[in-house]
C-alpha cells in the first residue's frame, strides 16, 4: 500500500532570514536598497528566492542605500528599506540615518550582526551598531533569536511611519538569521504601550488659536514638512483661502503650497525670499505648522519675530517651545489641526498686508532677480534652474544636493505639488542627491526625476552611477559645475576676506565618467544651448547626464548672514571688502 510521503518536520521550519523577508512582504515593501557582506549573507541567500516579490537594488556604497531609501520614502510616503552588513556596512549607514532623523523620513535599515555568542568580543566586523546609531535613530533594536524577528520588524515599521516619522534600525545576529523555527504569523504592530504617535487634537487649543487668528491684522503662516507628511496640503490651501492669510514655506515645506498661488509669500530661510523673511519681523501673528524653527529659518532667535504672537502646531511635543516660545501650542497632526482651524476661523482678507509682500518682492526683483535675468557673461545657475522649471512637467520630482545649486533650485524652481522637492535639509548632507534620486525614481515609475547637483557633492556618491547603469534607472542628472565648493567659497568671500582656502576643485571629465557608465552625457557652456539640451534631458527614456559649466564665482543672494536677524538680509555684495562680522 502506498503511503503518502510524510513531510520532514524541518520542512515546516523557516530560517530567521526567510521570516524577515516574509515580514517585509507583509509590510508591503517592494524594493530594498542594499549591499551584502558576511553577517547578512543568510538574508541575501534567502533573497535569491524572493526575486519575484522583493526587488533588491545593489547600490555601490551603503550610504547610497540609505539615501536611496530616503528618496523612495520622500517621493512616495512609504517606508524605505535599506540592508547592510555588520561593522563598516552598518557604519556607512550613519550619515543617512542622521539625515533621515533630522528630516523626519520613514526608513527601516536592517543590518547583519556577528553571531550572538561573539557580541562584545571584537569579532571580525563587529561594531556595537545599536549604541553607535542610538542618537541618529528614532528607535533601534538588536535581535539575537529568530523568534524575535517578527515582533522587532513590525514594531520597526510602526515606529518609522507613525507620529513624526523617522529612521529605525534592526540589527540581526547571524545565528538569528540562520535559526530555523516554526514561522510565526506576521502581525503588523498597531500600538505600543509607551508610545502615542498621534496626539488627540485638543478643541481648547484650536479655539485659542482661532481666537488669535481671527483678531490678527497681519497673520502669517509658515508651512513646514509636517504639512506634507500629514497629507495636509489641501487643508492648508483651504485654510489660507478662507482666512486670506499669506503662506511661506520652509526648505522642506516647499511643495506644501503652490508657488504660483496669490497667497504664496515665498521661501523662508538663509537664502529664502526677501519678503518672506523680512515680514517675519513685521507680522503680528505667526502660525507655524509642522515646522521646527530651524536656525536657518530664524536667523538670530533673539531678534526673531519679537513683535508677533506665535501659534505653533506640531505633532512632536518636544518641538513646541524648543526654540521659540509659543503663545498657543497646538500639539496635533498638521492636517487635523488645519481642518479644525478652518472650521473655527472667520473668512477674512488681508489685502494691505499682502501688498506689503509684493512691495518687498519688488526690492528683491530689482536687486537680485533682474540682475540674474540679464543673461550675459558666463551661464549662471539661476538660468539653468529657471529653464528647467519652464520645461519640466508639473509632476517632476527635483532632488537637490547641498550647496549653492540647492539654494538656487529652491528659489527658482516653482514647486507646485507636495513630494516634488527632495533635499537634505537639517543635515545638509553633500552626496545625498544622486542616490536619493535613484530611490525616488524607483518609487515613482513614470514620474520624471531630476537630480540637480554640484561638482563637489556629486563626487561624494558618484559611484551610484553604477547603480543607475545596472538597473537602467531613468534619473536625469544636471550637474552645475563651478569648479568650486561654491557655497563655502561664498562664505569665504563674504566672511573670511575672500581667502579661498581649499575650495577650488580640480574635476575629472564628468561627461567621460558618465559615458563610462553607459549613460548618455553632454556638456554645455553656452546659454543658447540650454533650452534644447534640457528638452533632450527631459525627453530621454533612460538616464541622462547634463553638465553645465557655470560662472565660477557666483553668489546666492539674498542671504541672512549666519547670526544675523531675518530682517537683515543681504541683497548683494557689500561695498566694503572687509569680512562681515558674524557670531
Amino acid at each position: 500500500m502506498d503511503v503518502l510521503p510524510m513531510k520532514n518536520k524541518d520542512e515546516y521550519l523557516l530560517s530567521g532570514a526567510e521570516i524577515l523577508l516574509q515580514g517585509l512582504v507583509a509590510e508591503g515593501v517592494d524594493t530594498l536598497f542594499g549591499y551584502p557582506g558576511g553577517a547578512i549573507m543568510p538574508v541575501y541567500d534567502a533573497l535569491y528566492d524572493y526575486n519575484d516579490r522583493l526587488r533588491h537594488i545593489l547600490v555601490r556604497h551603503e550610504q547610497g542605500a540609505v539615501h536611496a531609501a530616503q528618496g523612495y520614502a520622500r517621493a512616495s510616503g512609504r517606508v524605505g528599506v535599506a540592508l547592510a552588513t555588520s561593522g563598516p556596512g552598518a557604519t556607512n549607514l550613519i550619515t543617512g540615518l542622521a539625515d533621515a532623523m533630522i528630516d523626519s523620513t520613514p526608513i527601516v535599515c536592517i543590518t547583519g550582526q556577528v553571531f550572538a555568542h561573539l557580541l562584545g568580543t571584537d569579532a571580525f566586523q563587529e561594531i556595537d551598531v545599536v549604541n553607535t546609531t542610538n542618537p541618529v535613530t528614532k528607535w533601534n533594536v538588536q535581535v539575537t533569536e529568530a523568534a524575535d524577528i517578527v515582533p522587532a520588524l513590525s514594531k520597526a515599521f510602526f515606529i518609522a511611519r507613525t507620529g513624526r516619522p523617522g529612521p529605525v534600525l534592526v540589527d540581526i545576529t547571524k545565528n538569528a538569521q540562520n535559526e530555523r523555527i516554526t514561522p510565526p504569523e506576521y502581525r503588523p504592530c498597531r500600538s505600543l504601550r509607551t508610545y502615542s504617535p498621534k496626539p488627540e487634537l485638543q478643541p481648547s487649543q484650536v479655539l485659542a488659536a482661532a481666537a488669535l487668528i481671527n483678531e490678527a491684522k497681519r497673520p502669517y503662516l509658515l508651512a513646514g514638512q509636517g504639512v506634507i507628511l500629514s497629507g495636509g496640503t489641501d487643508a492648508l490651501r483651504a485654510f489660507a483661502e478662507k482666512t486670506g492669510i499669506p503662506v511661506a514655506c520652509t526648505l522642506l515645506g516647499l511643495g506644501a503650497f503652490p508657488t504660483g498661488h496669490p497667497l504664496y509669500a515665498g521661501f523662508l530661510g538663509m537664502h529664502g525670499n526677501y519678503a518672506a523673511n523680512v515680514n517675519t519681523n513685521v507680522c503680528d501673528l505667526i502660525i507655524a505648522v509642522g515646522m521646527r524653527f530651524d536656525d536657518r529659518v530664524t536667523g538670530n532667535v533673539a531678534t526673531y519675530a519679537r513683535q508677533a504672537r506665535i501659534i505653533h502646531v506640531d505633532i512632536d511635543k518636544a518641538e513646541i517651545n524648543k526654540i521659540v516660545r509659543a503663545d498657543v501650542a497646538v500639539h496635533a497632526d498638521a492636517r487635523e489641526a488645519l481642518e479644525a482651524l478652518t472650521a473655527q476661523c472667520l473668512p477674512n482678507r488681508h489685502d494691505e498686508w499682502l501688498s506689503s509682500f509684493r512691495q518687498l518682492s519688488e526690492v528683491e526683483d530689482a536687486k537680485v532677480m533682474r540682475q540674474e535675468a540679464l543673461r550675459d557673461g558666463p551661464v549662471r545657475m539661476t538660468e539653468v534652474v529657471h529653464d528647467l522649471f519652464r520645461q519640466a512637467p508639473e509632476n517632476t520630482i527635483i532632488v537637490t544636493d547641498v550647496g549653492q545649486h540647492q539654494m538656487v533650485t529652491s528659489r527658482y524652481f516653482g514647486f507646485l505639488r507636495p513630494r516634488t522637492h527632495i533635499t537634505s535639509g537639517g543635515a545638509g548632507t553633500m552626496g545625498f542627491a544622486l542616490p536619493a534620486a535613484i530611490g525616488a525614481a524607483l518609487a515613482m515609475p513614470g514620474t520624471p526625476v531630476v537630480a540637480v547637483v554640484g561638482d563637489g557633492g556629486f563626487q561624494m556618491t558618484m559611484q551610484e552611477l553604477g547603480t543607475i547603469m545596472q538597473y537602467r534607472i531613468p534619473v536625469k542628472i544636471v550637474l552645475l559645475n563651478n569648479s568650486f565648493l561654491g557655497m563655502v567659497r561664498q562664505w569665504q568671500q563674504l566672511f573670511h576676506g575672500a581667502r579661498y582656502s581649499f575650495t577650488e576643485i580640480e574635476n575629472p571629465d564628468f561627461v567621460q565618467v558618465a559615458r563610462a557608465y553607459n549613460i548618455p552625457a553632454t556638456r554645455i557652456d553656452q546659454r543658447e544651448e540650454l533650452p534644447d539640451v534640457i528638452q533632450d534631458l527631459l525627453a530621454a527614456e533612460g538616464p541622462f547626464f547634463l553638465e553645465v559649466v557655470v560662472a565660477k564665482e557666483d553668489n546666492v543672494f539674498p542671504m541672512v548672514p549666519a547670526g544675523a536677524g531675518v530682517a537683515d538680509m543681504l541683497l548683494e555684495l557689500p561695498v566694503t571688502r572687509a569680512p562681515i562680522q558674524t557670531e
Partner: protein, 105 residues
Amino acid sequence: MKQDINMFLIAENNFSVLNRIVNILNRRRVRIRRISAHEEPDNFRRGSVSMVIHTTTDMAEKVKLQLEKLIEVEAVSYHLQPPLLETLAVTTMNYPMAASATQIL
C-alpha cells in the same frame, strides 16, 4: 538659574534604554549629579530611573519632553530638590514612583 532637580522616569526595561536616556542629557550638556536605575521588583520588563540633575527648570522641561519622546519611556516628571533635603535624594531613589521627595516623608 541652574539648580539641583530631581527627575524620575519610568520606562520599558529594554537593552540600551539607559544609554538613550543618558545620551539626551549629555547632548544637552546637562550635568548628572546622581543616577540610579532599577528593574521593577516583580516585572523585569519595566524599570525606573531617578536622578539628580543640575540645570535650569527651562532646560529640565525641554529635556523631559525629549526623554518622553524616546519610544521606551513611559513618563517623566521632575521637581526642584529642596536644598536642605539633599540627603533625601538617596531615599527618593529608592522610591522612584513617588512624584516628589516630600511625598516620601
